[in-house]
């Protein structure tokens, strides 16, 4: 039926051009898979990593390999391999590791034109799927010159950091897989029948190294105004906030060791991206981020206690640490050069000597035990640790001076040679293992925390929210006990944690964010409705992401000056307060009910908060005349790309193609000869050149 209909349509093209729908032959020739994940190219100072396709796409005969047995059958089938010029291997995602990929690349060499991975169903996920190094972030870390190297990510394949000359894509939707296998089985039965082919198109604009690419960006053709950009430096925003009570205005001197920094990262990476798809990053950094925000709320709740002592607690989020700690390098660079805190030149800068200690939340999964990593043993405050361990029996102390797991604190220690302040890292990572099987991969989604994302509601109490409450409350208690000196039981409403879990893991366009922002900012979240917070490599400000506005406004709200909650201010009086105070930001919002402790509720609240943010791209891109091939600072960039497509079709058999061409050539040649004969050997006037 299809073929008849098609031919009728085509004949009609001869006589009438327009048809009711734009049905072209090409719609009957190709089947597109629009929801495939793809691998892109990234560059650093010395190398390029990732995948690249040719500009028209890489095509080849499709061959499906489902398991080890089929793999070896394929490689020994010399006849098949010789009969085609290029192959696209469709590989089960369980076989995506260095053994199989290296074997395939070595054996097929130039004939391997692309790789398509597939996941049969969500229930058949591989047990481990991590393509980061076995020792993550070891290029610029604290341990650059040390011999002891622990393989924290023992199942890591390092495939993310390799450069492939062909495109790699991944199908993770079950119905896409079913369609693919249906067509494959239909057409790949015998050698002679036409075979299925695939075309992968994922052309990346950038090449070679960051230095080359940034130089290319600067080339401007004087006649053309439009500048063509090939790659963007990675980075986002480092956001920091604290209780607004203690702001040091010049010429007030800041006392030494009076600032405590609490750190968390807000980015991750995955080898296979999808626009509007899950980005992973739940066990690192989402859980840590939710813990961080909850702690901020508790500190904000107990701000009257913290007023009684002179130390400032600054909450800092770092974006860009997944690749060689770019954000931490930038943060330390700012601190050393007097740019921290940024925003108001009358504020006394914070330098290294003012830092008391650093606390970091890193790689938190829902484990029964937590581990406290500390360094250096000479500077750590044993009292603090004792109080912490006493308040929360879940926490175990790792032997001091043990190697630190991948964490932003490593850079803070490195830049200060571990001589200035101690770091305390709270993590689910034990002495030698990250307990995350899907570290830095898109499989690191809420199901790994036993959350059923489809039934998750705004106020559902999940195991993870209960777990976070059990961690954060003792931690806040410890801070109060060690800084203020009193023992106080602090409680946070479960609802707040539930709301954070929902917003960050399911729908960032949630009531919480609308309650803590004004209307125009709230509207910027509408395009991201029903999507979770993305945890991937950011190229701010080129890529728009809701992450930074969310963290800014939620963090600022949680640490707000609560004395304003009981004042019934109008929008105009809130603005007036803003004119008089240049160190804090004032916004007029609806108010987030679970956070307000007030019998009377007002229609709107004026929020006074201390909030700063600064770009977190590596100092390599900021320092004048910095040679990007140096390795002092990381210099990661992400390539730009235009279209990504994956198509399935039938490859014509070689005989068919050749026969068509030969018939065409013969027909032309024969007609040429006949007409030539008619011109020169007959007197038919039509063929003679002279008459009109």
């Amino acid at each position: 039926m299809h073929s008849l209909f098609l031919l009728v349509y085509l004949f009609l093209q001869i006589f009438v051009v327009f048809c009711s729908q734009p049905k072209r032959v090409v719609d009957r020739m190709y089947i597109s898979f629009d929801r495939a994940r793809y691998c892109v190219r990234r560059l650093n100072g010395t190398h390029e990593i990732g995948c690249q396709s040719s500009i028209r796409g890489n095509s080849g005969r499709m061959y499906m390999i489902d398991n080890d047995q089929e793999f070896h059958i394929y490689l020994t089938d010399k006849k098949l391999i010789d009969s085609f010029n290029s192959f696209i291997i469709v590989l089960n995602v369980n076989l995506f590791n260095t053994y199989y990929i290296d074997y395939l690349m070595k054996h097929l060499d130039k004939k391997l034109n692309g790789l398509l991975l597939y996941l049969k169903s969500n229930l058949s996920r591989p047990l481990d799927f991590s393509h980061d190094d076995q020792c993550p972030n070891n290029r610029n870390s604290f341990y650059l010159n040390q011999t002891e190297k622990i393989n924290w990510n023992s199942k890591g394949t390092s495939l993310f950091f390799r450069s492939f000359p062909f495109p790699i894509m991944l199908i993770d939707e079950e119905d896409d897989y079913k369609r693919l296998i249906e067509f494959y089985r239909q057409f790949n039965n015998s050698q002679s029948s036409p075979a299925c082919g695939l075309e992968l198109k994922a052309f990346q604009n950038a090449a070679h190294t960051t230095k080359t690419c940034m130089t290319r960006n600067d080339i401007s053709h004087s006649l053309i105004d439009l500048q063509e950009i090939f790659c963007d430096p990675i980075g986002g925003l480092n956001i920091y906030s604290k209780l607004p009570q203690s702001i040091k205005i010049k010429p007030d001197q800041r006392s030494l060791k009076s600032v405590i920094l609490i750190l968390v990262t807000t980015d991750s990476f995955q080898m296979f991206l999808k626009p509007k798809g899950s980005t992973g990053g739940v066990q690192q950094p989402a859980t840590a981020l939710i813990t961080f925000l909850t702690l901020a709320h508790l500190i904000g709740q107990e701000q009257d206690e913290f007023k009684k002592q002179n130390k400032e607690i600054i909450f800092v989020t770092l974006d860009g640490d997944a690749l060689d700690y770019s954000a931490s390098f930038k943060f330390m660079f700012d601190m050393i050069n007097g740019y921290f805190p940024i925003g108001n030149k009358n504020e006394q800068p914070i330098k290294i000597e003012h830092i008391h200690s650093i606390i970091e939340f890193q790689s938190l999964s829902m484990t029964n035990e937590l581990w406290l990593h500390t360094h250096p043993s000479s500077l750590i405050n044993q009292t603090f640790i004792d109080i912490l361990l006493r308040n929360n029996p879940m926490i175990n102390l790792i032997r001091p001076n043990s190697p630190l797991p991948p964490a932003s604190s490593q850079i803070f220690l490195r830049q200060t040679l571990s001589l200035s302040f101690p770091v305390y890292i709270l993590s689910s990572t034990n002495q030698n293992q990250l307990l995350n099987h899907y570290y830095h991969s898109f499989f690191d989604d809420p199901s790994t925390l036993s959350i059923n994302i489809s039934t998750l509601e705004y106020n559902t109490t999940t195991e993870i929210s209960l777990w976070i409450k059990r961690i954060v409350e003792p931690f806040a208690q410890t801070l109060i006990e060690s800084l203020v000196g009193i023992k106080k039981n602090v409680i946070i409403k479960q609802e707040i944690i539930n709301n954070l879990v929902y917003c960050i893991l399911k729908n960032i366009n949630c009531p919480l964010i609308h309650n803590v922002t004004n209307q125009s900012v709230g509207n910027t979240f509408k395009p991201f409705d029903q999507t979770s917070m993305p945890f991937s490599i950011n190229t701010y400000p080129i890529s728009t992401t809701p992450t930074f506005p969310f963290i800014k406004y939620v963090l600022g709200y949680f640490l707000r000056d609560r004395s304003y909650d009981i004042q019934n201010l109008t929008k105009i009086s809130c603005k007036e307060h803003a004119y008089n105070d240049s160190f804090c930001s004032y916004t007029f919002v609806d108010g987030y009910a679970p956070s307000i402790i007030n019998e009377k509720s007002f229609s709107g609240y004026c929020v006074r908060s201390y909030l700063r943010f600064v770009q977190s791209i590596s100092p390599a891109f900021i320092i004048e005349n910095y040679d990007l091939s140096q390795t002092t600072y990381p210099a990661w960039t992400e390539s730009r790309w235009t279209t990504i497509s994956l198509r399935l079709f039938i490859i014509p058999t070689r005989t068919h193609e050749i026969v068509t061409l030969i018939i065409g050539i013969l027909l032309t040649f024969i007609s040429f000869c006949i007409l030539f004969f008619l011109r020169y050997y007959t007197k038919i006037s039509l063929f003679q050149p002279s008459s009109s």
Binding site: L12, F187, I650, T660, I665
Partner: protein, 246 residues
Amino acid sequence: MTIMECAGCTLIAYGVPFSMFVFTIAHHPFRVIISMTSAFFWLLSLLLSSFLWFAVVPLRTQLAFAVPFAVIFQEIFRFLFYRLIKKAEFALQRVQMQELTDKGMVFDRFAVAYASGYGFGLISGTFAIVNVLSDMTGPGTLGIFGHSQDFFIATAFLTLCVILLNTFWGVIFFTSLDKGGIHRFIGPGTVVLTHMLFSCITLVNRTLTPMYTISLIVGYAILLGMIIYTVVLRGFNLNNIRQRIN
């Protein structure tokens, strides 16, 4: 790489017409002009057909409605072109014949009919095949939904058939009208009827398989018939042909 297939199909469809162009039209500027103008007239007929299709909104999906009207419009414009040529001929004859003959511009009616048919055919065939050719340049070919792979070759041969048919239809049409008498009705009538038959075979083919062979056979049979009719019309018989060949 179906670049080979694309090249092959282009050669099949345009190989013969290209040779025809080189040996019969290229050396004669007048014939070139006639072909181009004739092609333009075909485009006008297509424009009118599409207006009609666009205007009759409920029947846009019914192919059976649009096809006969397209044929009728094409033939009307062929006739209009004939009228135009007649006027040109009349105007040319008023100018001194000697001057033009020296320059090589003799008004050969047969050649003009031939060139006009050729122009019509060329543009008609191009519209048929150009979209298909551009779709052919990708890495794949038809077949994933079960269509036959011979589709492209069949389209190319059919386009060749259309181009040649149009050439002969042009000759028959103009020569019959010039002859006058009973031929004024038989000639154009045959052209319109065979054209309608050719186009409507496609609609009838909706119920038959394999459809390529049937349409191709019908198309080339009609072509053979038209060639014979042309030869008869021009008054060739065996003696004449022997004379011409020597």
